[in-house]
């Protein structure tokens, strides 16, 4: 039986009106979450500086449009579209001021839906096909390219959705993969694409080269905001990211066919069609990555651009990524928390919430209702065996059920008064994500579990103290919002 999601009236209204990036920018603009940069900027270092300054505010940073980039007259670029939890809240039909915890539970409520909503648009009616180039392609002519971090090896397209199909089963929609991969422009009509060796794209590259088959891909820029958010969420190899994103959004994703036969978003700003140059490799990197460090130079597969389609007056949507907090953390944060929570909850209904927002879940905070002394440690060990936990979740902090893991002041309280040095567990020589700079060797390092939950029998420690139980629940949440509202009104007066 299929499960569809139930949305609030506000969420339904948002889902109904948003078909593409432009619709989302309009929504953000109505809520003061979109600005146009008022002055001319140089591609470097101005864009980088503005992106870093804006990233400081993870709760309310706006999307920023640049339409006066020196040397790129008439071109538009936008950053920070998913750069704050307020922007994410608006996409999910929530108002400004929504807490991260509320957004987490909203996402959990949408999780597990399996009712794909896909609509097909004829290619000649798709906005992305308003303009098409099949020769003399120069990516610099089409996009205001720039260096994201100062030691990157080149100019990166860092927020593209890339579509590809299994070269052995090009007609299988389910085996069509949509993912976010970093793309380094390697010439006017060439780029390299880096895929983690275990990802679907790497599997397709190997299949194409081993069987001397062509691998055609479509690089979509300026995407439906739900696609940008959910294409980064791991789904199984035979599940479609399009189906998944439409389920999570609760509204259709509009698709059309690209010139090279792939299913693309009809309302994307630009689609770059390309083909793998089999067995060719090129130096790629460094690139400032999400752990806040550069990944080194590697030999990476190379693609040749075969055609470009784009809307009139296209917007180049890119992302700032580097040492956190950055848009990358907000973009993937909640989608990292949700699957860990769902998988953990199946084994332990005592789990209340999971905050794995930090560096793609290298640190996770899990709140759980303790059953007996040491119980939380067992839950932490189960978290390590979830698919994401296997490589990430390097540091786990366990807190009580009444501690909000998204409120770091509360987490620090738990660390301060609920943690004994003997409640720390180190698991040596465990698998670790390759680009974690704290690894013993790339791919291997130690894991840490800090049990910051309270003391339960038969543990006698702490039995002579009694916790203050401050009032909690919806009434207090509403009062906190009321205080903020009164404060805003006082400011206006």
């Amino acid at each position: 039986m299929s499960k569809s999601i139930s949305l609030s009236a506000e969420a339904k209204a948002v889902a109904k009106r948003i078909h593409c990036l432009r619709d989302y920018l309009e929504l953000l603009s109505e809520h003061g979450q979109f600005i146009k940069w008022p002055e001319a900027v140089m591609p470097e270092p101005d864009i980088r500086k503005i992106a870093v300054a804006s990233s400081r505010d993870s709760m309310t940073a706006p999307a920023i449009m640049f339409d006066n980039i020196r040397g790129y007259p008439g071109k538009k670029m936008v950053l920070g579209v998913h750069g704050s939890f307020t922007n994410i809240a608006l996409l999910l039909g929530y108002p400004k001021g929504t807490t991260i915890k509320e957004l987490f539970y909203e996402l959990i409520g949408r999780w597990g839906s399996d009712k794909p909503l896909l609509e097909w648009v004829k290619p000649d009616q798709a906005p992305v096909n308003e303009n098409r180039l099949e020769s003399d392609i120069n990516l610099y002519d089409l996009l205001p390219l720039y260096r994201v971090n100062d030691y990157d090896g080149g100019f990166y397209i860092a927020k593209a959705n890339v579509v590809s199909r299994d070269p052995l089963e090009p007609d299988n929609f389910g085996k069509q993969n949509v993912g976010i991969y970093r793309i380094q422009v390697q010439g006017p009509d060439r780029f390299s694409l880096l895929s983690v060796p275990s990802h679907d794209m790497a599997h397709m590259i190997r299949t194409a080269e081993e069987n001397d088959l062509p691998l055609k891909i479509a690089v979509m820029l300026g995407n439906h905001p739900a696609m940008a958010m959910f294409a980064a969420t791991p789904v199984n190899y035979d599940e479609s990211e399009y189906a998944y994103a439409s389920q999570m959004m609760g509204s259709p994703i509009e698709l059309t066919t690209s010139g090279n036969g792939l299913d693309i978003q009809a309302g994307a700003e630009m689609v770059i069609e390309a083909e793998l140059i089999n067995n060719e490799r090129i130096f790629e990197g460094p690139f400032g990555e999400f752990p806040g460090s550069y990944s080194g130079v590697r030999h990476v597969p190379l693609f040749k651009v075969t055609a470009v389609s784009h809307r009139n007056d296209p917007i180049f949507e890119n992302i700032y990524i580097g040492r956190g907090w950055t848009e990358h953390d907000t973009l993937i944060g909640l989608n990292t928390c949700a699957p860990i929570y769902s998988q953990l909850k199946e084994s332990f209904p005592e789990v209340v919430a999971v905050n794995a927002l930090y560096q793609h879940g290298l640190t996770g905070i899990i709140s759980v209702k303790n059953r007996y002394a040491g119980f939380a440690k067992s839950v932490a060990l189960r978290a390590l065996s979830t698919p994401h936990g296997l490589m990430y979740l390097k540091n786990i902090i366990m807190v009580d059920d009444f501690v909000d893991p998204f409120d770091l002041n509360q987490v620090m309280w738990a660390l301060s008064v609920r943690t004994r040095a003997s409640d720390i567990t180190v698991l040596p020589n465990m698998p670790l994500v390759l680009i974690d700079p704290a690894a013993e060797v790339p791919g291997k390092g130690h894991r840490l579990i800090i049990d910051a939950t309270g003391f339960m029998p038969p543990d006698k420690v702490g039995s002579d103290s009694k916790l203050v139980t401050p009032p909690a629940g919806n009434e207090i949440d509403d009062l906190a919002k009321y205080v903020s509202q009164l404060q805003r009104e006082a400011e206006i007066k």
Binding site: Y146, Q186, N279, F283, H299
Partner: protein
């Protein structure tokens, strides 16, 4: 002019694009055919001046084995 990253000679450098303002060139993007570095001549020195750049980021295209393969090409597996 040499490559800011590997010091390849000028003949190895390709001009990719020129940014213009009122018909006048205000910057040029280059690509090094040896180490694949791309840069714009208007960037700050820490990105494009070989002497100012941190040594850690230098690339030696004559020693390709120093750099790992992301996905080894299938052809190299065959004898």
């Amino acid at each position: 002019m040499t490559c800011p990253r590997c010091q390849a000679e000028e003949k190895e450098l390709r001009t990719e694009y020129q940014g213009k303002e009122d018909g006048k060139v205000i910057w040029t993007v280059y690509n090094c055919q040896r180490c694949a570095f791309t840069w714009r001549d208007s960037e700050p020195a820490e990105s494009i001046d070989y002497e100012v750049r941190e040594e850690w980021f230098r690339v030696d295209p004559d020693s390709p084995d120093l750099y790992p393969h992301n996905i080894p090409p299938a052809k190299s597996k065959k004898p």
